[in-house]
């Protein structure tokens, strides 16, 4: 299992102009430490969990719950990560209090969300202080940056801020990633969520993007489990629009994790996404109905998923496609399992979940 992600709250101390999950200060509700621990225990009893991620919203608004969960998973040697806007870097005293607590609990690493949208509310000085102190406490830090056509910040902004060269995470080998405590990663801002009405989508998503941006199997579906703040479970990174019911297949308050995993793992739709990606779904829709329109280029495959599952017409066509597709997908999944078993030392496994849980 690649990872377990807790979007433990949608509450955030800031209201970015652009936010995919529409987070903000007025939103209430969060996963309790007890719920997260139960979910982790149920999952780790079935399969090894590579890492646990706490995100939101701003997860450090519930730092005591986060600390409890980290202390619990630490016994299994599981890596943990907090994705935060690092507002707590506004004073040294506050930052040290946070970092001491998390170091003692056993947190492994931080992702700091940094971009124009966040830095409208979180000062660069706070980011600088949080980064330097986190490094002092020997936490690996990834500056996770989102860019867009009019973006003013980039890696040079943060190199100047921190007065050092920062390696780009995606360019590093696994060994190099271990050596560098501070890295930078930049991705495109997907036009989803709050702020969508204020942008020129055609400018954000130019028509000349290479297919590599969005084609191929989805790397997240059936490799991750994301538990949302209301307990609903997604089979992927969970960063899709909350309005898309197709990505929520149950609640941790109603079913056990083995039941939920079994359901996700045997799902025709999720296997389809895992084996062929949303591109495979689009091709099937176009084969069935040549009149169906697609934007055609995407910043990443999530955006294509978004397009498909927010269209009733496309969903109806997909439902018609499924009976013709299931045998092909079954064969692909089985072949995949055989391939994974025989050649695992040479290739990266593509699907981690199996249906052996009852």
């Amino acid at each position: 299992m690649k990872g377990l992600t807790f979007i433990l709250t949608d509450k955030c101390n800031i209201t970015c102009d652009f936010c995919a999950p529409n987070c903000g200060p007025k939103i209430k509700g969060a996963l309790s430490a007890e719920t997260m621990i139960r979910v982790y225990d149920e999952m780790s009893s079935l399969m090894p969990v590579a890492n646990v991620v706490f995100t939101g919203g701003e997860p450090t608004l519930y730092i005591n719950d986060v600390v409890k969960v980290i202390q619990h998973i630490k016994k299994d040697g599981v890596s943990s990560r907090i994705v935060t806007n690092a507002y707590w870097g506004k004073t040294e005293k506050l930052a040290r209090r946070f970092l001491t607590k998390l170091k003692n609990a056993g947190l492994y690493e931080f992702n700091f969300s940094v971009d124009d949208f966040h830095q409208k509310y979180i000062s660069y000085e706070a980011i600088k202080r949080a980064t330097e102190l986190a490094l002092e406490y020997e936490f690996p830090v990834l500056l996770a940056h989102k860019t867009y056509p009019d973006s003013e910040s980039d890696i040079s902004t943060f190199e100047a801020l921190l007065d050092r060269t920062i390696p780009i995470y995606e360019d590093l080998t696994p060994d190099e990633k271990d050596k560098h405590k501070l890295c930078f990663s930049s991705g495109n801002t997907i036009p989803v969520g709050r702020g969508i009405d204020t942008i020129d989508v055609n400018k954000w998503v130019p028509s000349n993007l290479p297919r590599s941006y969005w084609e191929g199997p989805c790397d997240e579906v059936l490799r991750n489990i994301t538990v949302q703040s209301d307990g609903s479970v997604s089979p992927c990174c969970g960063l899709v629009d909350r309005g898309l019911g197709v990505f929520y297949y149950g609640s941790v308050y109603e079913k056990s994790i083995p039941q939920l995993i079994s359901k996700a793992n045997s799902s025709t739709l999720y296997n389809w996404l895992a084996l062929e990606g949303p591109e495979g779904l689009m091709n099937a829709i176009l084969e069935k109905s040549t009149n169906e329109k697609f934007h055609g280029t995407y910043l990443q495959n999530c955006q294509l998923c978004q397009e498909i599952f927010s269209s009733e017409q496309k969903m109806k066509i997909l439902i018609d496609c499924i009976p013709e597709k299931v045998n092909d997908l079954s064969a692909k999944r089985m072949n995949h399992e055989v391939h994974r078993s025989l050649y695992k030392s040479k290739t990266k496994p593509n699907i981690y979940m199996t249906a052996t849980c009852q």
């Binding site: 090894p48 019911g245 299931v326 399992e337 078993s341 695992k344």
Partner: protein, 187 residues
């Protein structure tokens, strides 16, 4: 003036009843291989065992149908000191267990094809101490999986220590669920 274009598909916030119903319908479909869970799990077990054969260079002919190899009581039982030479590769529980399964698949009787899942009934003591026997119970099921009966070994210790049992169950599930770990871990 900034041109604003709203593309409905990108917003994705429609939550109509129709969309919810379509989502439910899409989520209801299950791949045929998972509808026959027993067949799938047997396939999984074969993959695990064929992997062991590869890693230990045993004759693959034994693994053509590994489900057939189990003693008459449907129980795998082993002593640490009696395990095949490959055992000293690691002290990890799952590898010991798999090695013992391999030994019994090859040497002992036939395991019924309806074997559905595996549960450990060992204790921490028997797991840790080399001279204790460790037993594994296979739970049988009928074809529909609704009626089960557990076949337990007379050698199963009654004073089960939870942590030890859980450890072995965990390792066994890991091995059966994900063949990947057999070579990536415990080396």
């Amino acid at each position: 003036m900034k041109k604003v274009i709203k593309i409905e598909e990108f917003v994705g916030t429609q939550k109509s009843d129709t969309q919810k119903e379509l989502s439910q319908e899409l989520l209801e479909s299950e791949l045929p291989i998972f509808q026959d869970k027993m067949k799938y799990q047997n396939q999984q077990m074969m993959l695990v065992l064929s992997d062991i054969v590869k890693s230990t260079e045993l004759d693959p002919v034994y693994m053509l149908d590994p489900i057939k190899y189990l003693d008459e009581r449907n129980i795998f039982s082993f002593k640490r000191g009696e395990i095949a030479p490959g055992m000293e590769l690691t002290n990890d529980g799952y590898r010991e267990l798999i090695l013992s399964l391999r030994k019994k698949y090859i040497e002992d009787g036939e395991m019924p094809p309806e074997v559905l899942s595996v549960h450990s009934t060992t204790s921490t003591q028997s797991y840790v101490r080399e001279d204790r026997r460790t037993s594994f119970t296979f739970e049988k099921s009928n074809i529909t999986g609704t009626e089960r009966r557990a076949i337990t070994s007379s050698e199963t210790r009654t004073s089960t220590v939870t942590s030890g049992r859980e450890l072995l169950e965990f390792n066994l599930r890991r091995a059966l669920v994900d063949p990947e770990i057999l070579t990536n871990e415990g080396e």
